[in-house]
């Protein structure tokens, strides 16, 4: 009795046999990572209630200005319309495409599945430039074709409108919906559907009472993801959106931070609005995904779900599905490529005598910004992806294996960047480091810090699911065989997780290369990156050169994907 009584009070904490040094090392890294992902949100809030830089007297001036300013209100309304409409569009298209490709007898459904996720590899800038090339009211290919068909000047489509912005954003978001939903459609247990059919349900009833309700958590998670992504989207509102004079919160934040006179307090207050929306969405998304656990379906081995027969509608639906799939990747890439070879970009300029390689020569060899920005971008993407993956391994180990005292807190902290739009994260990071004299502001390091902060959660999702799949006996056997914890991770865990590590590395590499909203407030002329350079060229309006530049961005992103995709694993479930 005395023995157990003593044990209850003076018991050392249990740590799965890891030595204290290992634990201390992991804890320090984990603590640093938690601070890194959470301070920007705190600083955005502080900045929005401070008269000047952080540390100056508190004020409600900016929050009041947010409520009073007509531009803020208009931007909020525009952002709301844009978010709701593009999310709805992406949901309908994403769910539709995934159902058609996973559960129907539509011709070419396998190819459709591939084409639906292809846009993830295409930088959104390609989509923007491509759709400007296709749908500009004056020089867009579609309008030129329509005009020549009609014999008079006809504007069939116009991307410089709210509808145009929604169209591009919806196409950009569709693959994310597709990815979240298609797996559920594919893996659903045929027995559940057979049970419904045997119970007398018609095919339509089956769809509405069994198949779709079973996917509800995935559908909700997809919806919240696209709401966060569209509300915080920067590229489309600040390129075509500004050209069309449609202001939205992210583009307004950029202007308030950058234009003269800068109003960083107002920018922070506007960011705060986006942060609140994002964090609320991410909270409900996590909840939906957790609840999804009870819907988890383990399909029978090799059992393929039955396919819905579309009958007469097979070909018309296939035509529509492929048209949308083409619109989101192949068409814009073709349009950008065509534009890249044109001497100048104007109505009726697409003629053989106007074709040239001059744009390539100029952009790749003469344009002063291209190589510095490409070097910076590739360096940052390689370092950032590597750091994200390494940190993710440490964080996942701490949460899953060490079950450290703060693992719950760490898990919560690590979803913050998922809910905070890049521009708001940028405002928060800027607020801190601009105050550090002679510090990292204006260096590549601050950009690296921003990228790692934003993309740690992505890497963690991959690494955690890979670590969960490794039986702890494999690690214990290594420890008993004489290897220390760190050697065990190096010799057992890392090799076993390699496909997931490479997959997450590639994903983070690709998104860092294209990311702009994070760094638009943090770069300076000596640390310019590809995506910011693209913004400059966009401002100058030389579209053929812009086309070359954006193709360069796409190619740099695709090279490692092509090299490593055979040894990578891209799914996080």
């Amino acid at each position: 009795m005395t023995e157990s009584g003593r044990a209850g009070t003076g018991a050392p904490r249990v740590r799965r046999g890891s030595s204290d040094w290992d634990h201390a090392l992991f804890s320090v890294i984990v603590a640093a990572a938690v601070v890194m992902v959470s301070y920007p949100v705190v600083l955005v809030f502080l900045r929005s209630v401070s008269t000047g830089d952080i540390g100056s007297p508190l004020t409600l001036e900016w929050l009041r200005a947010l409520a009073d300013s007509g531009r803020s209100r208009d931007a909020l309304i525009n952002t709301a319309i844009y978010t709701v409409a593009s999310s709805a569009f992406a949901m309908v298209l994403g769910v539709g495409l995934s159902f058609l490709s996973a559960r129907t007898d539509m011709p070419g459904r396998k190819l459709l599945g591939l084409m639906a996720v292809l846009p993830i590899l295409v930088p959104p800038f390609i989509l923007v430039v491509g759709w400007v090339a296709l749908g500009d009211p004056n020089a867009g290919l579609i309008n030129i074709t329509a005009s020549s068909l009609m014999g008079a000047r006809t504007i069939a489509v116009n991307v410089n409108t709210m509808a145009g912005l929604i169209w591009m954003t919806g196409l950009f978001l569709t693959p994310y919906v597709y990815l979240l939903v298609a797996a559920g459609f594919r893996n659903s247990d045929p027995a559940m559907e057979e049970a419904a059919r045997v119970s007398g349900a018609s095919r339509l009833r089956l769809l509405t009472t069994v198949i779709l309700p079973l996917q509800r958590p995935a559908l909700l998670a997809a919806l919240l993801l696209v709401v966060i992504m569209s509300a915080g989207d920067f590229i489309i509102p600040s390129t075509v959106g500004l050209k069309a004079r449609i202001y939205m919160l992210p583009s307004l934040i950029w202007q308030n931070s950058n234009s003269f006179p800068a109003r960083p307090g107002l920018a922070a207050a506007q960011s705060m609005l986006l942060v609140v929306i994002g964090l609320v969405c991410i909270y409900f998304q996590r909840r939906a995904l957790q609840k999804g656990g009870r819907y988890t379906l383990l399909g029978g081995k090799g059992a393929n779900p039955s396919l819905f027969s579309l009958g007469q509608l097979r070909y018309p639906l296939a035509a529509i599905a492929f048209l949308f799939a083409l619109c989101s990747s192949v068409l814009p890439i073709l349009a950008v490529s065509a534009m890249a070879f044109m001497r100048f970009w104007a109505p009726y300029a697409l003629k053989p005598e106007n074709l040239t390689l001059r744009n390539f020569r100029y952009m790749l060899f003469e344009y002063p910004q291209v190589w510095p920005s490409a070097q910076h971008s590739v360096l940052l993407a390689v370092l950032g992806a590597t750091l994200c993956v390494l940190l993710a391994v440490v964080l996942a180990w701490y949460v899953i294996r060490m079950r450290g005292r703060f693992s719950g807190l760490v898990e919560y902290a690590m979803v913050i960047p998922l809910g905070v739009p890049g521009i708001a994260l940028g405002v928060g990071i800027l607020s801190l480091w601009i105050l550090v004299p002679g510090g990292i502001y204006g260096t590549l390091w601050i950009l690296l810090l921003a990228y790692v902060t934003a993309y740690i959660p992505v890497a963690i999702q991959f690494v955690s699911s890979a670590l969960h799949r490794i039986h702890t006996d494999l690690e214990d056997a290594s420890r008993v065989s004489g290897r220390s914890l760190l050697s065990t991770i190096r010799l057992v865990n890392l090799p076993l997780m390699r496909p997931a590590l490479i997959g997450s590395w590639l994903l983070v590499y690709v998104v860092i290369l294209r990311e702009i909203s994070l760094v638009i407030l943090l770069y300076n002329p000596s640390t310019i990156v590809l995506s910011v350079g693209l913004m400059d060229v966009w401002g100058s309006g030389f579209y053929p050169e812009l086309a070359v530049y954006s193709l360069l961005l796409m190619v740099l992103g695709l090279v490692p994907v092509a090299l490593l995709s055979r040894v990578a694993k891209f799914s996080a479930d």
Binding site: G8, P12, G17, D473, A477, R479, S481, R483, S487, V492
Partner: protein, 373 residues
């Protein structure tokens, strides 16, 4: 066949001494997985920790390995103190020089058979040539010569089991820990592996601690058996002692004795205690010393130590067959005697209809187990 002591040169077999080990789970450690566990595991012998799931046997094993940290107590492997809560000593698993065979085999799928077996040698810093010769000798010894280049998924369950055994032995550990190593195998293979393990131990004595819930494995493999219950030791003894004379109701039940009947102590002699029961006066032996004539007690009757016949005999008690269940080599008859149902196992082909009157007698010379509780 290679001599294992050549495979494992400069052998250093150690006993393991565990003192006052406790381990709690839950808030404040109120769920006790292990409660003041003390036992000496003798060098060169196989000690089996036997008990149902949740009895703490695996906690003892993993504490010895260093894979979990107990709340209190002390573990010495040979002369080295591997863990001492009071003194703050906790040697990490990789420095304890043990071998371990896991229930899941825990073979690394990204390594070949050779690399799996050679892993502990590489960890100890041997040269490549030494590792190669030792691994080859070990592969020959476990009957997997020429399969070193294969990967784990290319092996059968029994072969995987042997690789995991080879890996546990190759580094010449001070003791080998077995965590239910046979429970993933099908019945036929389990039987064969059990016999192979036995042969292995005869060829090369090593200290082993073997965790199982299977009493047959415990009987055949153990030099000593430790029956555990709820984090405590219920009984320690040779397999024969535990089998013939379980100390408690729990141990009797776990050793597969279904018949626990009440009785009264009639006479006490130095080597046997006679107990009055529904079956008459039975000779028993127990562990507890302080019995008095007239005490109420419980005795465990192994179904093979009672016989019955349709013809009446002197000194027999009459009973009625409730049912007979044929189970291959033997038949289990459930017989009611004076309101008590007793299972009797018989090896004759004889069957009886339900309700038949029979005469029940203890097998001549049988001594029954008198339980402590």
């Amino acid at each position: 066949m290679a001599d294992p002591r050549r495979v494992a040169s400069n052998s250093e077999i150690s006993g393991v001494s565990v003192t006052g080990l406790s381990k709690g789970y839950g808030l404040g450690g109120h769920l006790r997985a292990l409660d003041d566990f003390t036992h000496e595991f003798p060098a060169g012998q196989c000690t089996v920790l036997l008990g149902p799931s949740g009895c703490g046997k695996t906690t003892v094993l993993r504490s010895i390995a260093g894979l979990i940290t107990p709340d209190s107590g002390r573990i010495a492997i040979g002369s080295t103190i591997a863990f001492d809560a009071a003194a703050g000593i906790r040697i990490p698993p990789e420095k304890r020089h043990l071998g371990m065979v896991f229930q899941s085999y825990a073979l690394w799928p990204h390594l070949s058979v050779t690399e799996n077996v050679g892993y502990p040698l590489a960890a100890s810093g041997l040269s490549k040539a030494e590792i190669q010769s030792k691994v080859e000798a070990m592969l020959e010894w476990i009957g997997l010569s020429g399969m070193g280049g294969r990967y784990v998924h290319e092996l059968s369950g029994g072969q995987q089991q042997r690789v995991s055994l080879g890996r546990a032995i190759v580094g010449n550990p001070r003791a080998i820990l077995f965590d239910e190593p046979l429970s993933n195998l099908d019945a036929r293979l389990r039987e064969r592996m059990r016999i192979e393990l036995l042969a292995l131990r005869q060829r090369a004595p090593f200290t082993s601690i073997y965790v199982t819930h299977d009493q047959l494995e415990a009987m055949t493999l153990g030099d000593r058996v430790v029956v555990m219950r709820a984090g405590r030791i219920e009984q320690v003894g040779t397999p024969e002692e535990v089998y013939k004379r379980p100390r408690t109701r729990f141990a009797a039940d776990f050793m597969g004795i279904p018949n626990l009947i009440e009785g009264t102590v009639r006479t006490i002699a130095p080597d046997a205690i006679a107990v009055d029961t529904v079956l008459g006066t039975l000779p028993t032996r127990g562990w507890r010393a302080n019995w008095h004539i007239g005490d109420r007690c419980t005795i465990a009757l192994r179904p093979t130590l009672i016989a019955f016949a349709t013809s009446r005999k002197a000194d027999s008690r009459s009973g009625r067959v409730i049912r007979s269940v044929f189970q291959g080599t033997s038949t289990i008859h459930v017989i009611e005697i004076a309101g008590t149902a007793i299972a009797i196992e018989s090896f004759s082909e004889e069957r009886h209809n339900d309700g038949v009157e029979v005469a029940v007698t203890p097998v001549a010379g049988a001594i029954f187990a008198l339980l402590d509780d």
